[in-house]
Every structure is written in structure tokens, then in C-alpha cells.
């Protein structure tokens, strides 16, 4: 953020507007709790340690789903970029499946995998795989022809060419795909936890709180979700980008 002071002011103003609204009594305080209540609830969740368990479960599901997606997606994308017949076989499948919102599959996955962890992870996997495949494929195709020729002229071939030129050349888009995949997983996991009736996870907390009209818990958890999402984006992906492709001058990293 260019001016941290302005950001603080922004949240102070937003907080003040919310507080005025919450205390005005337009809705009952059960519907629009004051910031103090939300902060207190959040504090309680943190002190009891329960929120960390929820966060842990949510991140665990993302880790497994996203990890599997990369394990499957990157090789498929590479093969598609390398061999014409793989591309011709996989691309139609991917283009039909990828625009379907992952959450539409929840009921089906519940039937196939039962309620709970497996369904949520499958959902994350489904949501994350396509961006990884598509971006890796585009990345391999977008590797500069001149680099390939130059490397071949210097005697690189086959495996060496692939590892030393194609892979790093495709990296900016692979990372972009990973980033997109994370954003999608984040959505999928929260939705999956709500609908697939797990007993742990941030999505579950929000959904469960609805039954008891605990709006303070819901808003507090939303806050946690937002901070975690932004944190991952800023800390992990931007660092990853800066350390690799940003340093090579291949993309302009955000904020520069």
C-alpha cells in the first residue's frame, strides 16, 4: 500500500460508519453487532484456540487439494504444450469442465465421497486443477522461440532443453496459474465446508453460527478469512514472484 496512513484512515472511517449503523438500532444488535462485540468474540475464539483448529483444517484441505492439483495439472499442462496429440485430446475436456463452478459439484461429490474431508478436498482439487493446467500449457507455448533456437545452437537438446529453457521460460505463467488456483481453492473450500457438512473449518464456523444467529461469530470469521486470503496473496505469491520471475525482469510485480 502506497500510503499506510490512508489505509488506516480508511478502516477507521469504515469502522465508524458500521458502528454508528450498528448502534442506531435500525436492526437489532443480534443482526448487526457492534465492533466491540465482534472483537470480543474474535478474542474468545483466539484465546480458546478453537479458531486455529478451524484454520488448520481449512488450510490442510487446501494443501492436499492444491498439492494434488499441481501434481496432476503441471505435468498435463507441460505435455499439452509439448505434444500436439495430448493437447488435442485434453483441451476439449478442459474447456468444457473448467467453466463449471466447482460448487455445483458439491452434491455429486457428497454422493461419491460421503460427507466430510474427502468431498471438500476433491472440491479443492477440482477447482484448482484447471487454472494450473491452462496456465502451464499457455506458459510452455509462450516460451520465446529465439531462446529455444539459441539453446539448440549451443547444443542443448531433449531433457536439458526442457529443464533449462522451457521450464524457467514457462515459470511466470505457471506461478500465475498457481495463484489463480489458490484463489479458486479458497472459494471452493469455504463453500464446500458449508454445504458438505464437515465439523471443522472456517466455512463450517460461519454456517454453524447461522443456526444460532451468532452474527458476531460470522463477521469475526469473515474477517479472519479476508486477512488470511490477503496474507497468502501478499506474503507467499508476491514473494515467490519477486524471488524468481520478478528478479529476471519477466513480469512487473504488483506494487513496483
Amino acid at each position: 500500500m502506497r500510503r499506510p496512513g490512508a489505509a488506516v484512515l480508511s478502516f477507521v472511517v469504515a469502522g465508524a460508519v458500521w458502528e454508528a449503523f450498528a448502534r442506531s438500532g435500525v436492526f437489532s444488535s443480534a443482526l448487526t453487532p457492534s465492533l466491540v462485540d465482534i472483537a470480543a468474540t474474535l478474542g474468545r475464539l483466539v484465546l480458546s484456540g478453537r479458531i486455529f483448529l478451524h484454520i488448520g483444517y481449512t488450510l490442510w484441505r487446501i494443501l492436499i487439494g492444491l498439492g494434488l492439483a499441481c501434481l496432476v495439472g503441471i505435468p498435463i499442462g507441460m505435455l499439452m504444450g509439448r505434444f500436439r496429440f495430448v493437447e488435442r485430446f485434453v483441451l476439449p475436456l478442459v474447456s468444457v469442465l473448467s467453466p463449471i463452478p466447482s460448487l455445483a459439484w458439491v452434491p455429486v461429490f457428497i454422493l461419491w465421497f460421503g460427507l466430510g474431508d474427502a468431498a471438500a478436498m476433491a472440491l479443492v482439487f477440482y477447482a484448482a486443477t484447471f487454472p494450473v493446467i491452462l496456465n502451464t500449457w499457455t506458459g510452455v507455448r509462450s516460451v520465446n522461440r529465439l531462446w529455444l533456437r539459441a539453446a539448440r545452437a549451443m547444443g542443448a537438446d531433449g531433457r536439458v532443453l526442457f529443464v533449462k529453457v522451457v521450464l524457467p521460460g514457462a515459470l511466470p505463467l505457471v506461478i500465475a496459474g498457481f495463484r489463480q488456483a489458490f484463489a479458486r481453492s479458497w472459494i471452493a473450500v469455504v463453500g464446500g465446508e458449508m454445504i458438505a457438512a464437515t465439523t471443522w473449518g472456517l466455512g463450517f464456523v460461519i454456517f454453524d453460527a447461522k443456526e444460532f444467529l451468532n452474527t458476531d461469530v460470522m463477521l469475526g470469521t469473515l474477517f479472519v478469512i479476508g486477512v488470511l486470503g490477503l496474507g497468502f496473496e501478499r506474503l507467499i505469491f508476491q514473494t515467490l514472484e519477486r524471488r524468481s520471475v520478478g528478479r529476471w525482469g519477466m513480469v512487473r510485480t504488483a506494487g513496483s
Partner: protein
């Protein structure tokens, strides 16, 4: 596979699928228009006025990565069950990418266009209408596209949560009770088709007529 196709045909013939699809699409249109209007307006204000940028950008960038669906239970508490929370949530979720991209677009308008226009006597209002708006259009379109995709994803899921009486999300969710996998997959197929159609029939022509023709984006 053939059971899915047969079920699909049966559901279409009986008018069940078209009915569910239609009501979902109606919700999508109303919600998306709401969110797009809000998002473009916010984005333009943020791009044009320094105070608005300082005030709103931090909030939008924190709100943007929160999955729209996470708000669903809250919206249900606030606005009850049925159509209202679904439409509002769709609009809310769609507004974020639209606002962020519109803002970026306004900021990305080339300085040299502004200078050229100013040297030809363009005033503030004309500058905005005749240079900033078309200059930012590629970004605005990207934002609308992302917004629509997000709206579509949220809507399908939110229909499962807010107990609307008809809708594709509801159709799939309801079918689970009866283990009717064929119905569910038929519903998913329609969801995919609608998403694809929106992309091909709405955004691609829109881009061809504007930014691609202007060479601001390769088609």
C-alpha cells in the same frame, strides 16, 4: 452416460430444466447488473478522486479475496430466505472484481492521451467522457468478465443455501436427497453450457466490437 443424456432430454422435454435454468439466469442478470453498476461507479470514483482512492481501495482489496459465498449465511440472516439474499449476494460478489479492474483501468490511461486531448482544448468533463472512459475500457471489460464469472459461481452455490424454490443449484442439491445422480449431472451440464454461452455470446462479441477492433487487445 446414456442415462444422463436420456434424463437430460426428459428434463428438457418436460420443461423442468428450462424452468430452473431460466429462473437462475434471471437472478444472475438482476444481481450482475446491480453489481456491475456499483462496481463500475466505485471504480471510476476511485480512479478519479484521490480521497476516494485513499478511502476505498484498502477496503476493496481486503474484501476482494473473501469468497462471496462466505457472506451467504449472513445475508440469509439479514434478508431472509429466497430471492432477495441470492440476488444481493450475487451483486455484492460481482462488484469487487469490477471495481478493482475499473480503478486500475482509469489509472492505466496513458498520460500522452490526456496531454494530447488537453492540448486540443478538452475540458475536465470531455476528457473523462472522451478519453478516460474509452481508454479504460479494456480493463473494465476484463472486470465485468471476472465479475460475471464470480457471480455465476456464487449464484449456483447460494441457491443451495438460501432455499429458493426453483433454480439450477437447487435442482442439483434437491436431487441429492433422492440419489438422482443423473439429474444432478444433467443440471451441472446446463450450468456449464450457460457459463460457456455467456462468454461466447456476450463478452467475445463485445470485445470484438471495441477493444479488439481498436488494437488495444489482440483477439
Amino acid at each position: 452416460m446414456d442415462t444422463i443424456v436420456v434424463t437430460f432430454a426428459r428434463l428438457v422435454a418436460r420443461g423442468i430444466l428450462p424452468l430452473h435454468a431460466l429462473s437462475t439466469i434471471l437472478r444472475l442478470i438482476v444481481g450482475f447488473l446491480l453489481g456491475a453498476t456499483l462496481g463500475v461507479a466505485l471504480g471510476l470514483v476511485m480512479g478519479r478522486f484521490r480521497w476516494a482512492e485513499d478511502l476505498l481501495v484498502p477496503m476493496v482489496s481486503v474484501g476482494n479475496p473473501i469468497p462471496g459465498l462466505a457472506y451467504a449465511p449472513l445475508f440469509v440472516i439479514w434478508f431472509g430466505l429466497g430471492n432477495l439474499p441470492a440476488v444481493l449476494l450475487v451483486g455484492f460478489a460481482a462488484a469487487f472484481p469490477v471495481a478493482v479492474n475499473t480503478w486500475t483501468g482509469v489509472k492505466a490511461v496513458k498520460e500522452i492521451w490526456i496531454r494530447a486531448a488537453q492540448s486540443m482544448g478538452a475540458r475536465e468533463r470531455q476528457l473523462f467522457r472522451m478519453v478516460v472512459l474509452p481508454g479504460a475500457l479494456p480493463w473494465v471489460l476484463t472486470g465485468l468478465r471476472l465479475g460475471l464469472a464470480r457471480a455465476w459461481r456464487v449464484l449456483v452455490a447460494v441457491e443451495m443455501l438460501t432455499s429458493v424454490s426453483v433454480g439450477l443449484g437447487w435442482l442439483i442439491f434437491g436431487a441429492r436427497e433422492f440419489l438422482a445422480t443423473d439429474v444432478m449431472l444433467a443440471g451441472i451440464a446446463v450450468i456449464g453450457l450457460v457459463g460457456l454461452a455467456l462468454e461466447k455470446l456476450v463478452f467475445e462479441p463485445l470485445e470484438r466490437f471495441t477493444v479488439v477492433r481498436w488494437g488495444m487487445l489482440t483477439g
